[in-house]
Subunit: 506 residues, 2 copies
């Protein structure tokens, strides 16, 4: 390590580092623990009021100014690359290569949004010319998407960079023209601090109002609840668990003035192995599945936790190959002690059921997780809702089906998913045609002959899906289209040109 | 009248006319009352299950097929023009010219959506080509907007055609590829029936599945609540009161699987009279305001209920001209007895306050409403939340301000609105520049030198706005963009061409 980073442990509120009365101690996977100021509803209030005060000026910035700001944040993050990787690996237990890759994704997202707003398509400009001769006359109408207001962002445990402090939600909101108040995740407060330092440096070099960004370090439950209930907050971006996400969604809906809660709550991402593909390359798909299932200790929202496979020898070969590949995977350090415990609890759900057969069962110690593989049949799966609940970690469940009809029944029985995958060969086309209309209703992304982990940040990406996968009704939390969550359309009727927003003039 | 229409009083459920055990009697403003079957949760369930059964086939129709269907509905409505106007005027008390105009708007909306989907922009197609040489390789990604599923639509009391059975919400949902279940408004059940008859004729001539459209006639509260809570319903379109709308919004958010509730809940649509404009043409604006305020007995969501005007002679001239014009307006029949009573209750709120001065106070009899005009000052307005609540009917409140600062303070104090209007001359530009950033945050549509009634159905229209004006977060309920409420994005990764939705092929 050429750089050493020791966090000071303060919140960043509207351009100032703020200490707190109470503190908490980080629980890194390695390296020294540090003290961090604990968030409070009072600090949340300060940050939200500062965001609201900054909003008119920030909403009035040009796209070029905001693009420069996003690029400056990316540059400032890169300038702290080694220190970010150092504290990030310590806090999360993720390997250096992952932190480096995720940093690239994070700066790539910021730069992609900079390019995206410069292009200007996202403004969705429309113009209906006046028709003064018509009866009744039509007025001049111009429409444009405008920023919604201050946005709350929750750092995610499993993406300390790409879905946290200056991650996708923050990048999309800042690109749209919305100030951001981040609630940092207490699993990686030091990583949050150094990224906030990068954002602050960009605020200063770009002359942005300080209130455009705040980071409140984690604390008790009241930090998150006061944040989503704050009257100045206009939308929320969240990546996390179904339980926590639903609780915050409910608070947003129950506000005197409800606001949208864009929550990405995870899913089991079912994978369907069609007969011809299974016969031709079941074992290869099984080995590939094991790789996707254990990547990053299985701590991805798109982890393909369930494989639907026919009974018979081709399915057996798939299961055998998956088990053999999983057996080779060493235990991996999980993001937090709590997540490691939850993984063991999830595994225990399967061990306790006589409708489920163990294929590969491992013991894990402390904060590590080793892969586990189970098998059940379609009837048992459909009767037991708990088997379809996400286990966060490298655990796979194979559901064996008697044939095409049962596969379709199972597809119909799934709840909303982030992704659904089919593995198919040419001879599987008819069955694939039956499954596709079902799967497109169940998932935000439908894949063929691949694995859902590795979410591409692109124009066409949809990371979202019907509840409980997300509360992103009609939206995505990854890719350029995610900016739409933080925009609202405004129509201007017969307004003098000089009064129109700059992007509607000329 | 060349055509006579006597309603049979049945529900339309998935292609069949269904009688009910219980019935209710219509309360027309003129002409004979009729018996109508009363909706029940059991009938709602039948309609929703039929909609869900029809969804896969309807979602798979081509855009050309759906466009032909929408045009056929418009033709069938026109074929029943005289009968629709006859029963419509009887039930609502609205004049013939209004019913004829609203029918034109309704068929115009259907035809506009037919054109809109044929153009195909709404599909929002995106394509990220595969980059197999990249590390890691990028898969082929294609995105398209797909229909969300069965949609519930609530008929509106104040638009028996354009926001009811085959109104804007229904047209947008059918255009998107979503089956519709309408809860008819009990204020105009016969109008609903004959329009449903037109839709049924189009279903038959276009060979659409019967479940694509159902009309459940009004009933008790349990019809609406069971409809929005039905597990097959995926989104709701609603136009109505804040109280009723919020209750349904809450039910949608509290579902095990929450769904979006697109509610247009009304507003007071503030109008700001800037000093130069007031001095130059205060009286003319006052007279124009009176016309907008009393149009359709003031029963429009965009009725400009509040005028913000300076103290002094120019403001006095505005108020005087408005009062004189309002005095000339004869009492008009309201939509229902209940709405007429609510108008009197709303008026009583003003009569009971010593912070409010009467300018023109009228007595209304039975189901009629005559205009009323009150005046107050900014401080009183800001201290008294009830003064900012919508009064549905021809009632105006003038808020006098001491100058530009107080005008801006007042603008900031308004809740979310469908529209906000400024009247300005060239010399008002600086004050207008101060108000605009505030007003664009408060309203879905901002107008200059006009009146907000008369909502243009166009590409650029935004009918919606921050809560409590609507729960249309980022959406509109009028204009072509309203189709977005009933779509969700789906990403297809590496899917063989033959399996892609037709609109993504080629």
């Amino acid at each position: 390590m050429t750089q050493d980073f020791t966090p000071h442990g303060k919140h960043l509120i509207a351009g100032e580092w703020v200490a707190g009365a109470a503190s908490f101690r980080s629980e890194p996977a390695s390296g020294p623990a540090h003290e961090f100021a604990m968030g409070t509803p009072g600090l949340v209030d300060q940050a939200c009021e500062a965001a609201a005060a900054a909003f008119p000026a920030y909403a009035a910035t040009t796209r070029a100014e905001r693009a420069a700001f996003l690029n400056a944040i990316a540059d400032e993050i890169e300038a702290r690359a080694a220190a970010i990787t150092q504290i990030g690996t310590q806090e999360t237990g993720l390997p250096e290569a992952r932190l480096n890759g995720e940093r690239g994704r994070t700066t790539g997202q910021l730069r992609l949004f900079a390019q995206h707003i410069l292009k200007g398509d996202y403004l969705d400009r429309r113009h209906d010319k006046a028709l003064p001769e018509r009866t009744p006359p039509r007025p001049e109408l111009r429409m444009i998407q405008r920023p919604i207001g201050p946005v709350a962002v929750f750092g995610a445990s499993n993406f300390p960079l790409a879905f946290s402090t200056a991650g996708g939600d923050t990048a999309a909101a800042l690109a749209a023209g919305c100030p951001v108040v981040v609630k940092g995740h207490s699993a990686h407060p030091g990583t949050g601090e150094i990224v906030a330092e990068a954002v602050l440096a960009a605020i200063q070099s770009c002359n942005m109002p300080g209130g455009v960004f705040s980071l409140i370090q984690g604390g008790k439950r009241d930090v998150g609840t006061s944040l989503v209930q704050h009257p100045q907050i206009r939308a929320v971006g969240f990546t996390g668990s179904l339980g926590g996400g639903r609780a915050l969604f409910d608070l947003c809906a129950q506000r005197p003035e409800p606001i949208p809660f864009f929550g990405e709550l995870g899913s089991v991402n079912p994978m369907f192995l069609l007969p011809e593909a299974a016969a031709a390359r079941g074992a290869a798909i099984g080995a590939g599945w094991a790789g996707s299932l254990t990547m990053g200790a299985g701590q991805f929202c798109t982890n393909p936790g369930i494989a639907v496979v026919g009974a018979g020898p081709a399915g057996d070969a798939f299961v055998k190959a998956a088990a053999e590949a999983l057996e080779q995977v060493a235990p991996q350090v999980m993001l937090t002690d709590g997540i490691a415990r939850a993984y063991q609890d999830g595994k225990a759900r399967f061990d306790g059921r006589n409708t489920v057969q163990p294929v590969l069962v491992t013991a894990s110690e402390g904060r590590t997780a080793a892969p586990n593989l189970y098998e059940t049949d379609a009837a048992s799966y459909l009767q037991d809702h708990a088997l379809g609940e996400e286990v966060f970690g490298p655990l796979g469940l194979v559901v064996r089906v008697s044939g095409a009809d049962e596969m379709e029944t199972l597809a119909k029985g799934f709840e909303g998913q982030l992704t659904a995958t089919i593995h198919m060969d040419d001879g599987d086309i008819d069955l694939a045609r039956r499954l596709l209309p079902v799967l497109e209703q169940k998932a935000g992304r439908v894949l063929a002959n691949g694995f859902p982990t590795g979410v591409e940040v692109a124009d066409s990406m949809v990371h979202g899906g019907p509840y409980p996968a997300s509360t992103n009704f009609g939206a995505t939390s990854v890719g350029t289209m995610s900016i739409r969550r933080f925009l609202r359309p405004v129509c201007f009727q017969n307004l003098p040109e000089a009064l129109l927003p700059e992007d509607l003039r000329g």
